[in-house]
Symmetry: C2
Subunit: 436 residues, 2 copies
């Protein structure tokens, strides 16, 4: 415990940055007992210098210029918490160039530019840790990178966006529409003023991209992810799903098959008795299935000031413990050694195999069901269950639950159904996963 302190440069002092300061300060003694040395914030880059100074006091260097922090010789680790992928990218690359280890919570940055960043870090023998980028304080990155290394990972599925999970819980429990539930989430601070990244599944896809790389030893390939959000869900889908024994969750799913890897984010019907089905509100949970360990599950708060700071500080302790290690023997960025990544292809969405929930409105007249059944059969889609509900005097809603089918076949069936004269709505298509 006599080693010199580890000096941290903090880029950003917002929610997560402030939380990181708070945790490092209030748990300083316990953290030092674990890390073997103390961890001190020596420099901070922020927009509001005066406000920052009131928080961190006079001993910390405070500046508006991130590059000033990144280039300070006394800094061992740069913590990037400003978000986005332009300035953040520049600062992270310069930090590596300056020989600093990097800790970041920035999933967008890594999902898009991770390959470049990890290559630059590897060339310099530096660590880049990002536990806070996925599922807040739940140590899921560590589980994937270090805890499950014995396994051939088969698949993982997770609720990895708290905003959408909160909205879906509100829709289900309080019978709200998507718009009403979103407004609630915004009022309570669970959704941003521009909620697009969350509700359209982009944030979850950033995180899933990282998890897939950790699971399968493939480069990050955000551009190949299939992404579908929850804004098109109708309140009635909740009720129909319940009647069928399911709940609707926005899942990130990645699965290894012989011919490639599925990588997809979409609202998903989950059997009500599964653990993931009962993860409510802003909580996160990830299921990982390995060939040796079987199914495992990790659950906790997926966001927020202190939970996310918990992950940032855990990464700082990792660096403090391991920075003296020969770089060849540090834990690899994406679980697999940089020279041992594989190029298993990400499958196009049309190749995904799943069960499907289909809902459409039709004129309620003879022959309708026969025509629909005919199209589905023609497209090799077999129906597991089906029910029909009257809508007004002349119409009906029909809900199908299919057995396993190829997404491409379902696309084709939907296209054909959409041309039928008695079909009065777009076909709503949701995927179904049985999970653990």
């Amino acid at each position: 415990m006599s080693s010199r302190p580890v000096k941290v440069g903090l880029l950003g002092l917002g929610v997560v940055g402030g939380g990181t300061w708070k945790v490092l300060t209030r748990n300083a003694e316990e953290i030092a007992r674990r890390a073997g040395r103390s961890i001190e914030v020596a420099a901070v880059a922020v927009r509001d210098v005066e406000k920052a100074r009131r928080l961190v006091g006079g001993d910390v260097f405070v500046t508006r210029d991130g590059l000033e922090v990144v280039r300070r010789p006394d800094i061992d680790i740069v913590v990037e918490l400003i978000g986005g992928d332009t300035l953040a990218r520049e600062l992270v690359m310069e930090a590596l160039n300056q020989g600093k280890h990097v800790v970041t919570a920035n999933k967008a940055l890594l999902a898009k530019h991770g390959n470049e960043i990890f290559a630059a870090a590897h060339a310099k023998g530096l660590m880049v840790l990002f536990e806070a980028a996925v599922a807040g304080g739940i140590p899921i990155i560590k589980a994937m990178r270090e805890g499950l290394t014995a396994n051939r990972i088969q698949w993982l599925a997770g609720i990895i966006n708290g905003t959408t999970n909160f909205i879906l819980s509100e829709m289900r429990l309080r019978g709200l529409s998507f718009a009403e539930a979103l407004a609630d989430a915004q009022r309570l601070g669970y959704a941003e003023a521009d909620p697009t990244f969350d509700v359209e599944g982009v944030d979850a896809a950033h995180k899933l991209t990282l998890l897939a790389s950790l699971a399968f030893g493939i480069p990050v390939q955000f551009d190949k992810a299939y992404i579908e959000g929850i804004s098109h869900l109708a309140g009635e889908d909740m009720g129909h799903a319940k009647r069928l024994g399911y709940r609707i969750k926005l899942l990130g799913i990645t699965r290894r098959r012989e011919d490639g890897i599925e990588l997809r984010v979409h609202p998903t019907l989950v059997p009500v008795e599964r653990v993931l089905a009962s993860v409510e509100g802003a909580m996160n949970a990830v299921q990982v299935y390995g060939d040796a360990v079987g199914g495992t599950l990790y659950y906790g708060q997926g966001a927020g000031e202190l939970p996310t700071a918990s992950a940032v500080v855990a990464d700082l302790v990792d660096v403090a413990r391991l920075q003296a290690a020969d770089p060849e023997h540090q834990v690899p960025y994406l679980a697999f050694q940089p020279d041992a990544m594989v190029d298993t292809p990400i499958l196009p969405m049309s190749e995904v195999v799943s069960s499907y929930y289909l809902r459409l409105r039709v004129e309620d007249r003879p022959g309708v069901l026969a025509d629909l059944a005919h199209i589905l059969a023609d497209c090799s889609i077999s129906i597991g269950s089906m029910f029909q509900e009257p809508h007004g005097a002349d119409d009906a809603d029909i809900i199908f639950l299919s057995h396993q089918a190829r997404e491409g076949d379902v696309d084709q069936a939907i296209q054909k159904i959409q041309t039928l004269p008695f079909v009065k709505s777009e076909v709503t298509r949701l995927r179904v996963e049985s999970l653990l």
Copy 2:
């Protein structure tokens, strides 16, 4: 990936040893891609040399004598999977003496002799890893030691013995008595012929002892743990618990208080809506509450050939990745640096504060309830709910659920109640925890 292979000496080739061989063999390529080098079993010590040779082939050194394996110069890591704490202790100490890193699944050994073993390892700069000792393949040790290092851990509670959890599930779901459910468990291989260690809570206490050290930075102190098993539970307790909105689980609980640390294993009433309440059969789950991260939960198979091997092999990968690190910068054995352990006392059970379930049989006559209530009030125990059920013509069963009370006060109340002339049974006392 050009480094030389890591050579492993395996002590024991039973269920977990065989699983370790299997996982290392079938996932060899993927493990090497993660570890940066291949991991090879070079020597095995077993009772049945012929049988072992059939499994591992001719290239592996096979012997009956563990010391021969431990002393081989080509071995980097000794994996101890023979169990028990006499021969295992001797072999582990000699392995450290010979400068070998150690991986073990042996909770009994570490719970009783961990302090000595870790001190010997520390003196030599060696790693001792034991992920497989608690909760099978769930990476809970790694979460505690590395994932949650930012936190002041407040408490943890876990279902960490699959045998007892299976028996309790059978008692509840199928209405069996303890003896019937135990017989089932034995028939299905979930319980050993002599089930004492499992059903009396000793195995869970071994594991809890390790988790408490990891959580709070205290030496292992198995002898201070309070241990109560499930063999005294009556089938009717399941029904009463259900009526009150609870399920009965054997929990290991450790909690930090200002005056010390609670360390206890006992059957516990858990509110039915909690995640831990729905962990059934041979599954394990651990909840950890940290001041920054809040509540987190880890769930999976707690035992078995491959899940346990998953943990053993993950430890081997950790050693392969980190063995070149300066010992001062390896991850500490018990989460906290060896020179930073504290001597916070383990509290005696009488100081534990909990809610209580009390069940007793009485003669059904006037004044009984008044006398009981009087004693409870005298001992500062306040009742939350209570019900009475007739038993035969003349007797009744009374069930109390108390508010928070000191265990010592409850002891005193039970002692007094036991002397009342109308009380016809021992008082069954179970503890209640609200958890997350």
